[in-house]
Symmetry: C2
Subunit: 344 residues, 2 copies
């Protein structure tokens, strides 16, 4: 009749079993100062004999929960998977556990997830490409150590990791211009929240595109379709661009997913890539690399971004008063089969 409700083993059970105080067990758990090797051994043995696991809620009430929260805006974007890999790789082996706050569309949902994580006593937060107003991010970071990924701009309360989107956009423009293109259009993500406009990667990419075009003397070829960073947005943006009196000979999509939609629209228009029109994306996701697509794309080194974010967060948890850091990583261009010289 072991119908007992199977109470979970607590630190008290361990202490009793090892014939020491709960304080001693706690110290061993945290390898705190002031425990003899003998005590260590005794307690560790009791822990493993009983299969004890500390209760995170109880720990959280007194201090840390050993949990890091990651806000992930779009689980479908394979680029974020890349970032996540880098991130978890860096956290694995530490005493921390990563938990993800999923899918938020819109600023309200994002705020809800972030606060849910704070409520749950997360020791640190990594916010991937948040759309919240900057002031809100500052407020969050004042509450809990925070690293913001993918937003440009300098803060004194949180660390940032971002790709150098200005350079990335220039890589694409220069590549296309070198191939002989002059009318290179761009599909951008339209920013709905103006107060963080200058910080968003999409805005920077668009700006980088404009600057690079002008630098190459192609100011006349500047042509921007303003939609969103989604497949749908790419489809609509490309449709719009293809309807121009003089059609662009190349499209720089602000994200791979946008390029996917654009490819769709191009096929629908009966044009072929890259013979009739070249297209390039941004993010170098798995699907850009996928052979039937073979999309020319900018590689952001998502893995590195994630690893850096994790490192910064661990550092900040260790020392909250450390001055903030801004890591900017250089992208590279991966040329594949969707870009070629323009039709003669």
């Amino acid at each position: 009749m072991d119908e007992a409700p199977a109470r979970r083993i607590t630190i008290v059970d361990v202490a009793r079993h090892a014939q020491v105080s709960t304080t001693a067990v706690s110290k061993v758990l945290r390898n705190a100062y002031g425990v003899s090797p003998k005590m260590q051994a005794k307690v560790r043995q009791a822990i493993s004999e009983l299969g004890y696991r500390p209760n995170a809620s109880a720990r959280g009430l007194r201090g840390r929960t050993y949990t890091i929260g990651v806000m992930l805006p779009d689980i479908r974007n394979p680029f974020f998977a890349e970032v996540l890999d880098g991130l978890t790789g860096r956290i694995a082996g530490t005493e921390y556990q990563v938990l993800l706050g999923p899918g938020c569309n819109g600023e309200d949902a994002e705020a809800r997830v972030i606060h849910a994580m704070i409520d749950r006593g997360m020791d640190g937060l990594i916010l991937i490409a948040p759309i919240s107003a900057r002031a809100h991010l500052e407020r969050v970071a004042a509450l809990v150590p925070t690293v913001v990924v993918g937003r440009h701009g300098h803060s004194h309360t949180y660390d940032t990791v971002a790709d150098d989107d200005l350079t990335g956009a220039a890589l694409v423009v220069n590549h296309l211009a070198d191939l002989g293109h002059r009318r290179i259009a761009h599909i951008e993500h339209h920013e709905s929240t103006p107060d963080c406009l200058a910080e968003m990667p999409n805005a920077i990419r668009a700006e980088g595109y404009r600057r690079a075009m002008r630098a190459r003397g192609l100011a006349d070829g500047i042509d921007i379709a303003s939609t969103t960073y989604t497949q749908e947005g790419g489809y609509l943006g490309a449709k719009q661009l293809l309807a121009r009196p003089v059609r662009p000979t190349a499209i720089f999509a602000g994200a791979d997913i946008v390029a996917m939609g654009a490819l769709d629209a191009i096929a629908e228009a009966g044009l072929s890539v890259p013979t009739d029109i070249s297209i390039a994306g941004y993010d170098n996701t798995t699907f850009a690399a996928f052979r039937p697509i073979s999309l020319t794309s900018v590689d952001q080194a998502g893995h590195e971004i994630g690893a850096n974010a994790a490192r910064l967060l661990l550092d900040r948890i260790a020392d909250r008063s450390r001055p903030t850091a801004q890591v900017k990583l250089s992208p590279t261009l991966v040329v594949r089969r969707t870009t070629a010289p323009p039709p003669a």
Copy 2:
């Protein structure tokens, strides 16, 4: 000089501000029985004036954390994104928050994530396509309400939601046979953990394939390449199949991601789809629907699966002694451009 360390508002602050007891506040928070409308109003006002948010750790210590943990094995598989959408859609609007336990490769990593969620006092767990031994799942479910998604087989401790993979495989085989194919090969995921073999969807799909082939009198055409459910696995599996003395005229890939890899190998062999060879996948992911690919695939209704899992979990949290349920959803076939009659 507001350099105060900004202590978080607690239930005590709310009680003091509303001039009531903490018990009363707690009751309002949980809409417990025995609070007058006047009390309700008073407390709610105090809560919003102070911007109070309950501390989940403290709650967890006494009872529930209002958190549901979802174990997601592979963040890159867009099918899981679908499931997640259905799931969060069903949870949104309740008092619960969903947190994801990310990417685990291998049984050990999976167990680690699951236990991390239990340690953190999750009120319920949804395990998506777990690879753990059945006994382990039973042990987990004894500790916390659990729903297992994508595993077949009946349990008395956890609820299950799964697709009818037997039928799904038959749909593909019959479709291809109707088109005139006789040599229909299959790429399966090789099961490394034999103790749960019969429960895994991949095994069921392979079995469904065999049965359907025999049922159509195509037993001679049965040909299975055993790799893994990854793009790489699809590539290798297809390469293997294409090297056969008599080449199959159609390939049924056990998952869309496998079909992606297979398409790659087919292109590399200089064959074209569907003229030279037909190919079908399973899962109907976003990328199967993506026009340049247009993969014929089995739709599992991931959204429904997720929604059902969430519903079952909420029910079980409400009543842990309720008998377990097994939901089995019927898949449908989505015919696109990668399947056609075999070459003459």
